[in-house]
Amino acid sequence: MRPFVLNVALAAIAMSCANSTASRAAWEPVRPVEFIVPAGTGGGADQMARTIQGIVTKHSLMKQPLVVINKAGGAGGEGFLDVKTSSGNPHKIIITLSNLFTTPLATGIPFNWKDLTPVAMLALDEFVLWVNAEKPYNTVKDYVDAVKKAPSGSFKMGGTGSKQEDQIITVGIEKAIDAKFTYIPYKGGGEVAVQLVGNHVDSTVNNPIEAVAQWRGGKLRPLCVFDAQPMAYDEPIADGKAWKDIPTCKSQGLAMEYLMLRGIFMSPKATKDQIEYYVELFKKVRATPEWQDFMKSGAFNTTFLTGAEYAKWVEAEEKRHEGLMKEAGFLASGN
């Protein structure tokens, strides 16, 4: 929903007063760069893209404007197909979330991440198991026991989107503890957290940034994080507890791990110089204090990968999603 012309004009005004200290790489954008967000305005990917745009503008990291454009149609399929068909256009990059894998698998649109050129992994988003603070579940064990005791399907899990990350995790939990939830899909993560506060669902697997406000307000309680190790942030958030104090689900007997990619890809057939330019750009973005504050506020996992390492990670993750979604019966017919 981005009016491109005005967008460029405004960004150009902002850029014109900037002394560019842009990279000395062999290639540089000669036109404004479109930054595609395959999700709606206001969501996690959109926030990250706009934060990056703000950082690039504030620190004058690019000579050309960076223009954020949302293409959310078909669970992001619209955005991916747009970049796929812009072969050889180095002025188009896209930020991805897990729908990079889930959307083509669930809907059968003609797209695979290999159609794009991987640039860099910026961060990984964590998932935390949340319950309403009024409920008596203080540990994962209390919670699992309650789920098992309740009639099958009477426990409601709220999440963002259908056949996407939240539901994949839900299915993973079902497998791990051999119980059944009713999964209720909502449009946005903030809405999911509030539904949990209002007791309209029994638990959620919100990202930290989506639920932190309600945790601090004493309305929600985190039980465990779906990562291999606890999160790195030790600043107290609520009741003297920090992100770091949330145990991993695995250590609590709930064997499920899931992290969501927040990575950058560009259009097909990009040259080495062009990839290098964007890698350098994002390295500079990552070094700014604003980026670090943003990482802290969302308790992100700050792993940074580029090149072959990044591609390998994505490939492994694709296989894993295919397996998880196949088991859950989420694949589109014909896949």
Partner: protein, 499 residues
């Protein structure tokens, strides 16, 4: 009164020259954004968001929220002058605003729209100031079933109160539902009715449909009627503002009712669009001159505009206190809060007093500034109608095309707009009402989503819609609104038979 002390502190923040300047810039930009169809408030705010990165958060939100107010004001201008709603919540304003403009009363219609907008916003801000914590908690009680009940009420108050033949109304509404179903089904994650066409992944965007149905359709009709634009004899001076103001107090009841509907819809948060439709529908039924609605009745402008602004303003309350946006623009502002390092939610009112109350104070001042800006421009806007149709029609067409293109940056949408234009023309010729169709496109998928979420939660039992006092009351109100004509008729028959 700790709130009042905080508020005065907020005024001190908002009245700093730098913030005042941002306020005026924001309002002006917002009006321009609102006037261009397609480029809504959410887009405008999103584009400017990164530019506010280096400002203090309070100044940034003052500017961005003023863009929001400006867009709310601006949306009414094209609705009234050209029958092209720039924003979803301006659709109901066209029903009576455009006929007024055609009768040579664009000045009155614009003044009524702007003034009602201001009244609605003011009412909502006062509510936010005084009862913020109380009201915020109310939104928590709204699960999927309650949300569906609200949409149900919006549809019912529109169908039951419509003066058109009920079958044509229902046919138009069903067409809207069918169009709304295209795209991704958010409950199962499957694509529906896209037939493998990439362009349809996004479904039919409301704005494209509206620009076509109303804007292009209207141009086609005018062409048929002899290329005359009937607003040519508009009086254009500022006196019209004062004259209209003298009339307005007579409609206080409609205003008050619309304010209440708007605040309720904004807080729940169902948004400004159902608020404006519901308020228009109810005003049509209850107003003394309700039979004249749709033919240029000033009350038909007051009701939707008041409710839309009250809802748009109160939508910021759940955003600040709970982190749930009540409107698309509020969703973008919410993203802004996070980027500036502020955590929306229960603690914001405690930890960020200066920010919250600066924002609330800027709501008072921003709306006042907005009202002054747009009212002084009423003669200029009204004068546009004096331009001959031969010149203005191509301009509107270009404006519509740009608007349709800018929604998703896609030329396919421009074609789609033209198709909708022809459809709009045909429907009008056959006397099918457009309003229910539009209402169904806007709210259809949301209502469907809430309905299916409720049934998922209740494991398929319809009892969920009558499972507690709140949801039962709203559903009952909806049913009453749906069968209102029948109830009234039955009552009068009962009385005559008793006599």
């Amino acid at each position: 009164m700790e709130e009042l002390a905080n508020l005065f502190h907020g005024f001190a923040v908002a009245l700093q020259p730098y913030n005042m300047m941002l306020m005026i810039i924001g309002i002006t930009l917002g009006v321009i954004i609102g006037v261009l169809p397609g480029l809504g408030g959410a887009n405008g705010v999103a584009i400017l968001l990164p530019l506010t990165f280096s400002m203090p958060p309070t100044s940034a939100i003052i500017m961005l929220s003023c863009i929001y107010w400006g867009a709310l004001f601006g949306g009414a201008i094209t609705s009234i002058l050209f029958n092209i709603p720039g924003e979803p919540w301006s659709v109901a304003t066209t029903f009576d605003g455009y006929p007024m403009a055609q009768q040579g009363k664009p000045g009155e219609a614009l003044t009524a729209a702007f003034t009602s907008s201001f009244v609605g916003a003011l009412f909502a801000v006062i509510m936010i100031t005084l009862v913020a914590p109380l009201v915020a908690g109310f939104a928590l009680r709204f699960g999927p079933a309650e949300k569906f009940a609200v949409y149900f009420l919006a549809f019912c108050s529109f169908v039951g109160l419509s003066k058109e033949p009920p079958f044509k109304t229902i046919a138009a509404m069903m067409m809207g539902f069918a169009l709304a179903a295209v795209g991704l089904d958010s409950i199962t994650g499957q694509l529906r009715l896209t037939f493998g066409v990439t362009e349809l992944l996004n479904g039919f965007d409301f704005l494209i449909a509206v620009i076509g149905l109303f804007g292009i359709g209207e141009i086609l009709l005018t062409m048929e009627e002899g290329l005359a634009f009937r607003g040519g004899n508009a009086t254009i001076n500022l006196r019209v503002v004062l004259q209209t103001w003298r009339e307005l107090p007579a409609y206080w009841m409609t205003s008050l009712r619309s304010c209440l509907i708007g605040c309720w819809m904004g807080v729940t948060p169902a948004g400004a669009t159902p608020a404006s439709f519901m308020s228009y529908g109810i005003a049509k039924r209850l107003a003394r001159r309700g039979n004249n609605f749709g033919k240029g009745e000033i009350e038909g402008v007051i009701a939707p505009e008041t409710a839309a602004h009250a809802a748009g303003t109160s939508a910021l309350l759940p955003m600040l206190s709970l982190g749930v946006p009540g409107s698309p623009t509020a969703a973008v502002l919410l993203g802004g809060l996070l980027i500036w390092g502020l955590q929306p939610g229960p603690m914001l009112f405690v930890e960020q007093k200066e920010f919250v109350w600066g924002l609330i104070a800027s709501m008072y001042l921003g709306n006042l500034a907005g009202l002054i800006v747009v009212l002084t421009c009423v003669p200029i806007f009204a004068a546009i109608l004096r331009v001959p149709f031969g010149i203005i029609a191509p301009l509107i067409l270009v404006l519509c095309a740009i608007g349709a293109y800018s929604v998703h940056n896609s030329t396919f949408d421009v074609m789609l707009m033209l198709v909708f234009g022809v459809l709009g023309y045909l429907l009008k010729k056959c006397n099918y009402p457009l309003a229910p169709l539009v209402l169904a496109i806007v709210l259809g998928d949301k209502a469907e989503e809430a309905f299916r979420q409720s049934l998922l939660g209740s494991q398929g039992s319809l009892g969920v819609f009558f499972s507690n006092g709140l949801v039962s009351t709203i559903m009952a109100l909806g049913l009453v609104a749906l069968f209102w004509s029948a109830i009234q008729e039955g009552y009068s028959r009962l009385r005559t038979s008793m006599v």
